[in-house]
């Protein structure tokens, strides 16, 4: 695949997941299916917690690089280095957690970066991945089981005073 092929693939996928969640997201976050077995004691709460957080980083890191691409003091080579240094690590972990397609895209991007010398061409590729990663983050926000948060209410000072009293009662 050339860099333009990679660009088209990611742009198409990014447009698709604007309308509906990708299977990766449904599989892990909605149906609790984890092909890799990630999650100690066969649970997926920790997989969601850390996988979801790293999905957030994929978008945030790519956003920062796209933003810095607007500053001409950063060269194309420096921007490429930023992507290669910041993005693959969380991407690979997210794939282990079960959201695998984005890791294929990241590896494809890293593979074709040597073909790109032009800033606008690099930005086109980064913009496509930014859109895809940002949407993945959005789907995490939608499908995360926030409803369990009701089990973990804030403890207020009066609660703590009552707990202290009760802990001393004979």
């Amino acid at each position: 695949m050339t860099w333009r092929d990679v660009l088209t693939t990611i742009q198409t996928a990014a447009a698709d997941i604007q309308k509906a969640p990708p299977d990766d997201m449904l599989r892990l976050f909605h149906h609790q299916v984890v092909p890799s077995g990630a999650g100690n004691n066969a649970q997926c709460f920790t997989t969601w917690y850390f996988g979801g957080a790293d999905i957030r980083y994929l978008g945030a890191y790519t956003y920062q690089i796209v933003k810095l691409a607007g500053d001409s003091s950063f060269t194309v080579d420096q921007l490429k280095t930023m992507f290669k240094e910041f993005v693959p690590q969380p991407s690979e972990f997210v794939a282990y957690c079960g959201v695998r397609t984005q890791w294929e895209y990241v590896q494809d991007i890293v593979r074709v970066l040597p073909e790109i010398d032009d800033r606008d061409d690099l930005l086109a590729l980064l913009n496509a991945f930014l859109s895809y990663a940002a949407s993945l983050n959005g789907w995490v926000y939608h499908y995360m089981k926030w409803e369990i948060s009701g089990l973990y209410q804030h403890k207020m000072p009066e609660d703590i005073e009552e707990m202290s009293r009760l802990s001393k009662a004979s």
């Binding site: 990014a14 447009a15 607007g70 980064l126 930014l130 940002a134 959005g138 789907w139 926000y141 948060s149």
Partner: protein
């Protein structure tokens, strides 16, 4: 001349809100309207307070500012309900939050649009419905923004 308002429609609940420019950053409103129509999906913020959270709004025209520090910003805990801000917006992808309820996060973001006064009750009602959906059924919430 850019439109005075644009429409924001939450398809699942068939609710349409009108948004006009905020008192500042009006060039951002004009630029955003040039990107319409836009379809995206929305979630909800879950830590700082209650807002619709569009994390991957697709743009046709790249975001025209280099740093949020170059824009007028408002503290999200103090800005009015109905205010729309930008979050992690660069290149061809915007992040946006539409405040529909209480916020206590003391952080500032560039703001640029505001739900018209008459539509605020509808915003608060649909915000609660969308929140309940996120906590239960998790039906997909598509949003259409049109001039």
């Amino acid at each position: 001349m850019a439109a005075k308002t644009f429409n924001w429609r939450l398809v699942h609940f068939d609710t349409t809100l009108r948004l006009g420019p905020a008192p500042h950053n009006q060039e951002l409103f004009d630029w955003f309207v040039e990107n319409l129509p836009i379809q995206t999906f929305t979630g909800q913020t879950v830590v700082g307070g209650y807002s619709f959270f569009h994390l991957s709004v697709p743009l046709k025209i790249p975001a025209p500012w280099k740093s949020d520090k170059d824009l007028v910003q408002e503290d999200i805990s103090e800005m009015p309900v109905g205010r729309l801000n930008f979050f992690l917006t660069a290149g061809l992808t915007a992040g946006m939050a539409l405040k529909w309820g209480f916020f206590n996060e003391p952080m500032s973001y560039p703001t640029w649009a505001q739900v018209v006064e008459e539509d605020i009750p509808a915003l608060e009602e649909v915000g609660k419905k969308a929140w309940d959906n996120m906590m239960t059924r998790k039906d997909v919430m598509l949003v259409e923004m049109t001039a």
